[in-house]
């Protein structure tokens, strides 16, 4: 371990990253990796704490009007972008207007502040933001990198170049983006004038590190090799089969973070037979042996999910009893639904039709452990007589098919810091073709009502009551099958000190320093 004295400045830290952004502009790109990487460059008005409350950041304080549609922010003074432009009310306005403008083709940020109407510059350090309706997730949205701030000068000069990243990406953050080579790495250097970390951050001043380098290493084995051989100090996305190797090395530590939002979940299409029948959906839920499945896929390093929402999400509410399968109940449900015959292969039939469901997937979007999970789900459902057909498709065949609802199950994860993500996933107005992500294709008036209320009331306790009700409903109706509580596992050399994680479980490098030999 070595002595742990005061933090030392200097040095280069290399991160072995598993994914590479295809667009470095978080106001445009929806990718998690873009939000994570560019947190080094772009600051937000406020920061979300792990308990769901908010801390001042570029805004020192804020007020919400009684009807919940007008937010007034007082801005911090003396903040500058790394190109020398001062951060002020005008900078806030041009950024938010740009996110909402259709020409920006924002793929996620605009949806996060959906009811945004306008920003008024009250004075140099005060802005007033108007929404078209009360919107409880608004503060959470503002705390994400997706609503970080570009320098007005770079927005004015070449907004189209911001996707490409590099020196044209200018923010107020603790690092400057100096260069990147596609397929190789992205390089950041310290912003020496940084003095406005979020309130409550462990370190307030400029970053300790001189340089921060992300090496893009898509192959897991190679990332771990890079970490253990000293070619990287941090490895992102440690695959479950390699955790033991990292743990066995005394110089290393593993840090697991549970990200908020929705973990890897199977969504059942409720508008198509057979899953239109609630009994068959529940039979599928009873058939899943999560415990054994996760044991074999993740070597016991993931807990079974007890709700569609991850426990790290404010408003999470467990619906227990989903760990072990209940095949007797599955059998009763399927018999009751009329699928009470079996064919030669043991699958259930109804008037000569086999009970089979299609699970299309895109190999490129599906990491190996999820492929194994898919196989496990197929085996478990097969045990109660439901045939799962795994259909491997290319991305451009999958998307039209998904959007048209020609599937029985699809699986994905959706990290998000606010429980309002459930509205995107289960609200009836949120079909794929409408820009939402309602993969279960649910149209449930009770659920819609609660989701709408939960997105408009400002009071945390009342929201929590509503979200508990919503999660119970989703479980009781069998709209979706959650699998595991996701964990983002980072491997780090013990020399790496001060590594913190934000509410999204993204690593923050502003307070990181390197102990020991240089």
């Amino acid at each position: 371990m070595g002595p742990s004295g005061p933090p030392r400045a200097g040095g280069t830290l290399t991160v072995a990253a598993d994914k590479e952004p295809d667009c470095y502009d978080p106001q445009v790109s929806p990718a998690d990796v873009t939000a994570s990487l560019m947190r080094n460059v772009y600051d937000s008005l406020i920061a979300q704490r792990p308990d769901g409350s908010f801390a001042p950041w570029l805004a020192t304080g804020w007020k919400v009007s009684g009807d919940g549609t007008v937010y007034t922010f007082r801005l911090r003074r003396g903040v500058t972008f790394t190109d020398g432009t001062p951060f002020d009310a005008t900078a806030v306005k041009v950024n938010l207007d740009r996110v909402a403008a259709p020409a920006t083709k924002s793929e996620y940020a605009a949806a996060l502040i959906e009811p945004y109407r306008s920003t008024t510059v009250v004075d140099r350090h005060t802005v007033r933001i108007r929404l078209s309706r009360p919107f409880a997730p608004f503060l959470s949205a503002l705390s994400t990198t997706y609503l970080g701030f570009h320098s007005p000068r770079s927005l004015h000069a070449a907004p189209g170049a911001l996707c490409a990243g590099g020196p044209s990406a200018v923010g107020t953050g603790p690092f400057r983006f100096v260069s990147h080579t596609k397929g190789l790495q992205a390089e950041f250097v310290r912003n020496p004038r940084y003095a406005w970390a979020p309130q409550g951050a462990g370190h307030q001043g400029p970053a300790y590190l001189d340089t921060l380098v992300y090496r893009f290493l898509p192959v897991g084995f190679v990332r771990i090799g890079a970490l253990l051989s000293g070619q990287a100090e941090v490895a992102d996305g440690v695959p479950p089969q390699h955790t033991r190797t990292v743990r066995a090395d005394r110089r290393m530590r593993l840090i697991g973070q549970v990200p908020p939002g929705v973990g890897y979940t199977y969504f059942l299409n409720t508008r198509r037979a057979p899953f239109a029948d609630r009994r068959i959906r529940l039979a599928a839920a009873c058939a899943l042996d999560r415990h054994t499945l996760l044991e074999s896929v993740y070597f016991g390093q993931r807990r079974p999910a007890d709700s569609v929402l991850s426990p790290a999400t404010p408003g999470h509410h467990p619906s227990p009893g989903a760990e072990r399968p209940d095949r007797a109940r599955a059998d009763r449900l399927l018999d009751a639904a009329g699928w009470d015959h079996r064919d030669q292969e043991g699958y259930r039939t109804w008037h000569g039709h086999r009970l089979s469901v299609d699970l299309p997937f895109v190999a490129d979007f599906t990491p190996p452990e999820q492929r194994t999970l898919d196989e496990g789900v197929r085996a478990d459902l097969g045990k109660v007589g439901i045939e799962v057909r795994l259909i491997r498709l290319a991305a451009n065949d999958f998307l039209p098919r998904r959007n048209a609802g020609r599937y029985d199950m699809v699986a994905f994860r959706w990290p998000a810091a606010d429980a309002d993500v459930l509205r995107t996933l289960f609200g009836s107005g949120q079909t794929f073709t409408q820009g939402g992500y309602n993969a279960s294709r649910t149209s449930d008036p009770a659920l819609d009502g609660w989701l709408r209320s939960a997105s408009t009331v400002g009071d945390r306790a009342r929201r929590d009551v509503l979200y508990a009700r919503i999660q119970r409903r989703i479980a009781a109706q069998g709209y979706a099958l959650p699998t595991a509580v996701d964990r983002r596992v980072v491997g780090a050399h013990r020399r790496v000190r001060g590594l913190a994680f934000d509410a999204h479980a993204w690593p923050l490098y502003q307070g990181v320093w390197l102990a020991g030999a240089r």
Binding site: D22, C23, S29, P30, A31, P102, K105, E107, Y108, G160, C163, A164, T181, K182, G183, L184, Q185, R215, F216, L217, P218, V219, F221, V222, G225, A226, L228, S229, G230, Q231, V362, D364, F365, A394, A395, N396, D397, L399, P400, N403, F432, T433, Q434, G435, G436, Y437
Partner: protein, 319 residues
């Protein structure tokens, strides 16, 4: 009749252009046949685009026009040197490829160098040295040809970079970071080349001229290097086109394992994302490289092989 050679070159040049045009056209049609909507390519996989956003993209990119019109527009732009914009990266295609060409060329050239040296050494040492040596050489060549590159690359990394820490994974550490990827890419190529050159050498050494040369008292090594190798080089040269192709397909794997930047990796992501402009540019580049190499081979082989020259053309070439 002074125009024999120039006319031949001109004819070959036109044929080469036709090949490039043919391949990009086939690629264009194929990309549209594999289904899916280019709008999804622009939007990306993780997003559900609102109808408004979709309409906007369709209009902006002209996806609502008939395919023939889109092809015409694209070809017209191509003739003026405009390769268009990447759907996925929102950058001009030349800029997407600019940083990526260098690393791939470096990798390919280094791999060719390694493969040629290894193949020549094997062939010169092993050709016609009796049954045991031949069997060992043949086994080695077979192993090299059939070893899975992905696996070999990981093995090489594991030993040389992680365990002994002799070489870095990759990156910008110059030559050091080129060694492992180049060797990995060279292995199957070296195997094939060695097979061909060794067979050619054995054939040449069995020819009557070899007996004549030996009778003049020339040393065996000199006979092999100076006289026989020329015969053996011809079949290997005719493999040049195949070589370029296998280097590009190998580069896709090697660049992924070693996390090197390069055209191979760009091509993979572009094909899966249906990023038509980028795919077309890479196809055009590969087709051009391929035809240029074959053209050069066709021009060089007659100079090496007296049997392929007709007297007139040579006289004029020397005039």
């Amino acid at each position: 009749m002074r125009s024999g050679v120039p006319r031949y070159v001109l004819r070959r040049g036109i044929a080469a252009l036709a090949v490039v045009w043919g391949s990009v056209t086939v690629a264009f049609v194929a990309l549209h046949l594999i289904g899916g909507s280019p709008v999804d390519a622009v939007v990306g996989p993780t997003v559900s685009a609102t109808p408004g956003l979709r309409q906007q993209i369709i209009r902006a990119y002209g996806f609502d026009r008939p395919l023939v019109v889109q092809y015409g527009v694209w070809l017209g732009k191509l003739l003026t040197g405009d390769l268009g914009y990447s759907y996925q990266l929102n950058e001009p295609v030349p800029r997407v490829l600019a940083d990526q060409l260098g690393p791939t060329c470096q990798l390919a050239l280094a791999a060719v160098g390694v493969a040629v040296v290894v193949a020549l050494a094997t062939a010169l040492l092993a050709a016609g040295r009796g049954r045991v040596v031949t069997a060992v050489a043949a086994a080695g060549e077979m192993a090299a040809v059939s070893v899975p590159q992905f696996w070999f690359g990981l093995l090489a990394l594991s030993a040389v970079s992680f365990r002994w820490r002799l070489l870095p994974i990759a990156g910008d550490q110059g030559v050091a970071s080129l060694v492992l990827p180049a060797v990995t890419l060279a292995v199957p190529v070296a195997g094939t080349l060695a097979q061909v050159v060794r067979a050619g050498l054995e054939e040449a050494l069995a020819q009557p001229f070899a007996l004549t040369v030996r009778a003049r008292g020339v040393r065996e090594s000199a006979l092999r290097v100076r006289h026989a190798l020329r015969h053996a080089a011809l079949p290997a040269l005719n493999l040049a086109g195949w070589l370029a192709g296998s280097l590009l397909s190998g580069a896709v794997l090697v660049e992924t394992v070693f996390a090197r930047p390069g055209v191979g990796r760009v091509l993979i992501t572009a094909v899966t994302a249906k990023d038509t402009p980028v795919v077309m540019a890479v196809v055009m580049l590969s087709a051009t490289t391929f035809t240029v190499i074959n053209l050069l081979v066709d021009l060089v082989v007659p100079l090496l092989d007296p049997r392929l020259r007709d007297g007139r053309a040579t006289k004029e070439a020397r005039a």
